[in-house]
C-alpha cells in the first residue's frame, strides 16, 4: 500500500463561543466524554499544556476501539495530533482541529476538523472493492466528524449533546 491509499476526511461547524473558550474545551480531552457520548473512557498519560498523550476507548460501529493519541497545541490554540496506536481498521491516523474567529460574527468560532488516515485492505479484497469501501468509509467518517462537531455546537449552546447513533 502506498501514499496514494491515504485518505482525507473533514468537517466544519460554527460554535457560539469565543475562539479561546472553544479551543480550551477541545484541548481538555478528559471533558470530552460528557460532550461526545461515544467515548467509553479516557486516560491522560501526559499533558504539559502544549504536548498531550492520552489513551481512549471509543465506540465505533457497535464495537469498542482503543486508540492512543498524541496532540500538540500550537501557540494560537490550533491542535495537531497523531495516533501511534490508530483505530484497528487503520495503519495511520493524524489530523487537526483548527479554530477561526470571524469579526463579522463576534463571540463565534468556526471549527474545522481534518483527518488523514489509511485503511487496511483485507487480504481477499479486490482493488475495486477496497476503493469502494474507502469511499463509503470516508463518507461515514465525515458524518461522524460532523456529529462530533455538532455535539460541541450543542454543548456551547445548551450544555447538552444530541448525537445521533452513527455506525462509524
Amino acid at each position: 500500500m502506498s501514499d496514494v491509499d491515504r485518505d482525507h476526511a473533514g468537517a466544519q461547524a460554527w460554535v457560539r463561543a469565543p475562539r479561546s473558550a472553544v479551543a480550551a474545551v477541545f484541548w481538555d480531552i478528559s471533558a470530552w466524554h460528557a460532550i461526545w457520548r461515544k467515548i467509553d473512557d479516557v486516560e491522560v498519560l501526559y499533558d504539559d499544556g502544549v504536548h498531550q498523550e492520552f489513551a481512549m476507548g471509543v465506540q465505533r460501529d457497535g464495537r469498542r476501539e482503543d486508540v492512543r493519541t498524541i496532540r500538540y497545541r500550537r501557540s494560537d490554540g490550533d491542535i495537531d495530533f497523531f495516533s501511534p496506536q490508530p483505530p484497528p481498521t487503520m495503519t495511520m491516523h493524524n489530523g487537526a482541529w483548527l479554530f477561526e474567529s470571524d469579526p463579522a460574527l463576534p463571540g463565534s468560532c468556526r471549527v474545522t476538523a481534518h483527518r488523514h488516515y489509511q485503511l487496511i485492505a483485507a487480504a481477499d479484497e479486490s482493488r475495486a472493492e477496497f476503493l469502494r469501501r474507502r469511499r463509503n468509509y470516508r463518507q461515514q467518517f465525515e458524518e461522524r466528524l460532523q456529529a462530533i462537531l455538532d455535539c460541541f455546537v450543542d454543548h456551547f449552546a445548551t450544555g447538552r449533546c444530541s448525537s445521533s447513533e452513527l455506525t462509524v
Binding site: 501526559y46 504539559d48 498524541i70 500538540y72 497523531f82 501511534p84
Partner: protein, 148 residues
C-alpha cells in the same frame, strides 16, 4: 529552566538535519546511547524510546518528536530522565551565508526535588552540567557529519 547551545557544522543543512533526525544513527554517534527504538514514524510525527548509560546505571526515556525537515526537530519526553519532571527541546537548523549549517539546541527542563528523587543541586547548577552534555553531544554530531 532553559538552556541553549549552538554549533556550526561544515555541511549542507540537509545532511546536518538528517543526522539528528535519524535516531537509528544515534548509538554510533553518541557513545552513551545504548539503544533506540522508533515505534512510530509517519514522516512528520515520531515516537521513540532511548536507553542511555548514566553513572547510576542505564536510563530509558520515552517521547516523541515533530520532524520539520530541514529546519526543526521538536522534542518532548513523556518519560523524562528519572531526576526530572519535564524535558522538552528543539533543534533548529539554519544555512549560513558563507556555507555550512548553524545548529541551535534548546532544552527546557524541571527537576524533581531531592525528596522526590531529584538531585541535591539547584536547577541553575544542574543547567551548567546539562549545557556541558549538550555541548559535547553537538560536537560529536559535528564530527560525525563532517566525517561523512
Amino acid at each position: 529552566m532553559q538552556i541553549t547551545e549552538t554549533i556550526t557544522i561544515d555541511a549542507p543543512i540537509e545532511r546536518a538535519y538528517a543526522a539528528f533526525a535519524d535516531l537509528d544513527r544515534w548509538p554510533a554517534i553518541l557513545p552513551d546511547t545504548v539503544a533506540v527504538d522508533v515505534s512510530y514514524f509517519d514522516g512528520y510525527n515520531q515516537e521513540f524510546s532511548m536507553t542511555v548509560e548514566r553513572p547510576g546505571g542505564e536510563e530509558t526515556v520515552r517521547g516523541f518528536r515533530y520532524c520539520r525537515p530541514p529546519l526543526e526537530l521538536e522534542l518532548v519526553q513523556t518519560t523524562p530522565p528519572p531526576i526530572m519532571t519535564r524535558m522538552s527541546g528543539l533543534w533548529s537548523f539554519a544555512e549560513l551565508p558563507e556555507g555550512g549549517t548553524e545548529v541551535n539546541a534548546t532544552r527546557r527542563f524541571s527537576l524533581k526535588t531531592p525528596d522526590q528523587g531529584g538531585p541535591a543541586v539547584t536547577e541553575e547548577q544542574f543547567a551548567t552540567t546539562l549545557k556541558t552534555i549538550l555541548r559535547t553531544n553537538l560536537e560529536l554530531f559535528k564530527e560525525a557529519v563532517e566525517r561523512e
